[in-house]
Subunit: 256 residues, 2 copies
DNA sequence: TTAAATAAATGTCATTTTTACAATTAATTT
DNA sequence: AAATTAATTGTAAAAATGACATTTATTTAA
């Protein structure tokens, strides 16, 4: 005969005014530290990069890690992730998505901690280094990410996988670009994310057929003689169609 | 100047043998109850259904809820979900997927609890009622699910969404069927999941083109005069191609 | 036994989407 | 004015999709 679930048995004793305040209402249950960790992606025009911080203290001194922190008493994990991301990058309103919760009982050697992992996509141009010098953050290209603490390697690998998966179907990679961008830049971003190359003609046809982009009248003249037209996201169309399957990568098998 | 993250500051005091055992190593942090909740799907041949349990005690007595329980000291959330699912259904080795962690500080009125939500797909034929009579479980068709406790309505809605999303791209709905099934049965499952109807010819062409199904020599004679051939999953092909995009639902927009 | 009824199985054509592939254009540099 | 560079654009074949009806196997009723 299985034990009843404790979830179903809150202690009625707690309603007594004489009951010590430090006792909580579900009895005989283990309370666990809950943290969030953020896998922060950025794109510098050449490579997809990850923002990491360096631990200044023991244990694991000088090892790199994802940016994280504990969930505080009156905030949700989403709010904690937003707070932590702001602390690291100075940015608010960035694309942030919860992708997996890590709960192995041994994952943090100091004390058991459940970590709710998020990935963030930021416009790297808006990132200002000085804001978080305290944490010695650095950007690493994905193929040069150092060994990370705890299970952060695994988190990073899964975040990358989720990014590839989602970007094949939904217009999330635009979150990594500045408000005005060119098609060649967009293509190089996709190519770096999927570690492959696409045919220019097919790529632009696919992208433009979504109707998400508005061609601008001015060009980027920095990167070529001819110059490439800028595009902007059609914000309304973008928000409306974000959750639709857009199939940016028609046949992503083998790439994901 | 922002405070340092506590994650980075484990207390060295803990290494002292004189330090009280009840103190933990990350100081001044709030520990929180961590639970898992399972959204259990089954298909009875007609309708997609959800397995719910009825609370026998206050508060929220007589209200329905998802099956859940606290994560225990030496288990991961995955292990907790497996344990709880076995307690409810008697089944092991079922398809189980973590889909979202709910952490609103007010989500459980008794005491703050973070819940890691899973959805499970089971072959309803293997489910044996008597195993968990303790919880008064019942199957509900998706359109007749009663009001649930806490944020379980939200969990259920998101689980349904994730199921639809994933089933459009990957062969997960087979997990709801017995080892031998007919194409008409499979189609009625897809139709119920997406609340729509598909053309028989196009549906079977699409399904068979994946190469996942092996036609059997015998027929199901229960549901029609002519009888419909049984199919089985090609296990090797299934495992190999599970994560590929198979596009079962070619244009799922509007359905998801 | 024959006919009627039922649901399963199957095929084709038009349309759309995808893939593969190369020439032209705009601007700068020599 | 010619050469260079990278952006822009088009087309045809192949594959996938969507729309649509007839044939087949079997049981039941006449």
């Amino acid at each position: 005969m299985p034990r009843k679930f404790s979830l179903l048995i809150p202690s009625l004793l707690n309603f007594s005014p004489f009951f010590p305040r430090c006792m909580t209402k579900y009895q005989n249950q283990t309370r666990i530290l809950v943290a969030v960790d953020c896998v922060v992606f950025g794109f510098d025009g050449q490579k997809l990069k990850l923002l990491l911080i360096k631990r200044g203290i023991e244990p694991e001194r000088n090892k790199w890690s994802l940016m994280g922190g504990f969930v505080e008493p009156n905030e949700s994990a989403d709010q904690a992730a937003i707070r932590i991301l702001k602390k690291l990058t100075g940015l608010e309103g960035v694309y942030l998505e919860q992708f997996q919760t890590y709960s192995d009982s041994e994952r943090d050697p100091i004390e058991r901690t459940v970590s709710i992992a998020y990935f963030a996509l930021i416009d790297i141009n808006l990132y200002e280094t000085q804001i978080s010098e305290e944490y010695h953050p650095e950007w690493f290209p994905l193929n040069k990410v150092p060994d990370l603490i705890f299970d952060h390697n695994q988190m990073m690998a899964m975040a990358k996988e989720k990014l590839r998966y989602k970007a094949a179907l939904h217009p999330i990679l635009f979150e990594l670009l500045p408000p005005k961008f060119t098609l060649p830049l967009l293509q190089s971003l996709f190519e770096d994310v999927y570690e492959t190359s696409f045919d220019k003609r097919n790529f632009s046809r696919k992208i433009l057929s979504t109707g998400l982009l508005l061609k601008q009248k001015d060009k980027d003249k920095e990167n070529s003689k001819k110059g490439a037209f800028y595009y902007k996201l059609d914000k309304k169309h973008y928000q409306k169609n974000f959750h639709k399957f857009l199939h940016f990568i028609p046949n992503p098998n083998g790439l994901i």
